[in-house]
Subunit: 230 residues, 2 copies
């Protein structure tokens, strides 16, 4: 029988953190899920996450659990909502602080100790454990809002990318198609892209230019208050 060592005058809920991890495969957005190995919901897919230690913040908990369950280290996660419905966990009262993060697919190496983790394209995502369907839905809507204010999308692309890849990413997140030439004009005028390589002497019109995100220019723009609008 369990030893119940920690006592309080009033009942306390357990605290947890969960993570919605987004990736981009070049065409569509993917979400990193883990398969539960224990009850409850054994065998079901769920968001990475787990119980908070008493000496760590919600964010630290999210990052720790993420590394333990998927191998992702030092991921920048952003809290977006706290789920506190009374019956959301069948074991006991659990309040969960939900976070999201954007990572490059290449950062998750399959095969090793994180073999329970798998990337799912949106249309493949099965029904999830706990209230994780709900958490995921909210994360997706937050992602859409955020991409209009911060160029978070660059975290999903390789360091060097083409304009078409960038457009595909925006289209995948927002679910809208843009005119290729207008997207190109708007992005270049924003000034947050730098050409990654010197242009070839013989300018080909079929091999795309490759860009990288210019964080310095972005910082300047952000100061003035701007908007990545679509």
């Amino acid at each position: 029988m369990d030893e119940l060592k920690y006592s309080y005058k009033y009942p306390h809920p357990a605290m947890a953190s969960d993570c919605v991890i987004f990736g981009f495969d070049g065409v569509s957005i993917r979400v990193l899920l883990i398969q539960r190995g224990v009850e409850p919901f054994k065998g079901k897919w769920a968001l990475p996450g787990g119980f908070m230690n008493i000496d760590e913040t919600a964010e630290e908990c999210a990052r720790r659990e993420l590394e333990e369950e998927t191998g992702l280290k030092n991921t920048v996660v952003e809290q977006f909502y706290t789920f506190s419905e009374v019956g959301r966990d069948p074991r006991e009262r659990v309040v969960s602080v939900a976070h999201y993060a954007l990572v490059r697919l290449s950062e998750v190496k399959g095969g090793d100790d994180a073999s329970m983790a798998r990337w799912f394209a949106q249309e493949e995502i099965p029904s999830l454990a706990f209230d994780h369907d709900h958490i995921l839905r909210m994360a997706i809507s937050r992602l859409k809002e955020r991409i209009c204010f911060e160029p978070i999308g660059f975290e999903l692309l390789p360091e060097v990318f083409t304009m078409t890849e960038l457009q595909n990413l925006y289209e995948a997140i927002l679910g809208i198609k843009f005119d290729r030439r207008n997207f190109y004009n708007k992005m270049l005028k924003l000034g947050i892209l730098s050409e990654a390589e010197p242009r070839p002497a013989q300018a080909s019109r079929r091999v795309p230019l490759r860009y990288r995100f210019n964080a310095m220019k972005y910082a300047e723009l952000k100061q003035k208050g701007f908007r990545l609008e679509f």
Copy 2:
């Protein structure tokens, strides 16, 4: 000595909800604070809030505490961030889900049982108990973001208001001055205002027209996706 009736295998933090309540006095934004009657921080001003019961959500807790401490009933609160720094409460580990709400000043009746509560203009706000300064700063920045997407400002005004009052509200929240005529044009073109009274036969050019928020028109607009931009 306290009886410690609730025991767990692992330590659990206490959960709380806090509320940042915004009002508008016609010129500037105000915040509703309560003065603490007990230690810790006895005598200091703080955000309304308190510990969560084991059978209620964070939002229910926020609304209950708000009513207990300020008399405000049935307030629509919106969660915006969860604060989980380890040392934020000197008594024990407390994780707090912060909420904000917009109410009309007239809804808080002073004098009665809620006599500890008082409205502060932004420049009057003293240093607050716990990490409530931090919570308040974040609430203000969320308020600024939200007002550009949702006409939340209307909850702060009386039901019937003039264009100048509405402009004062936007200027107070965003800290920007607008051209009166452009603000007027933009608001009218949006179509979410209705004239509150028939125009007087002899149209005066000094007595302002009075409007009310047209929730139906707003709902239509929201469907299409729009933006209250400034």
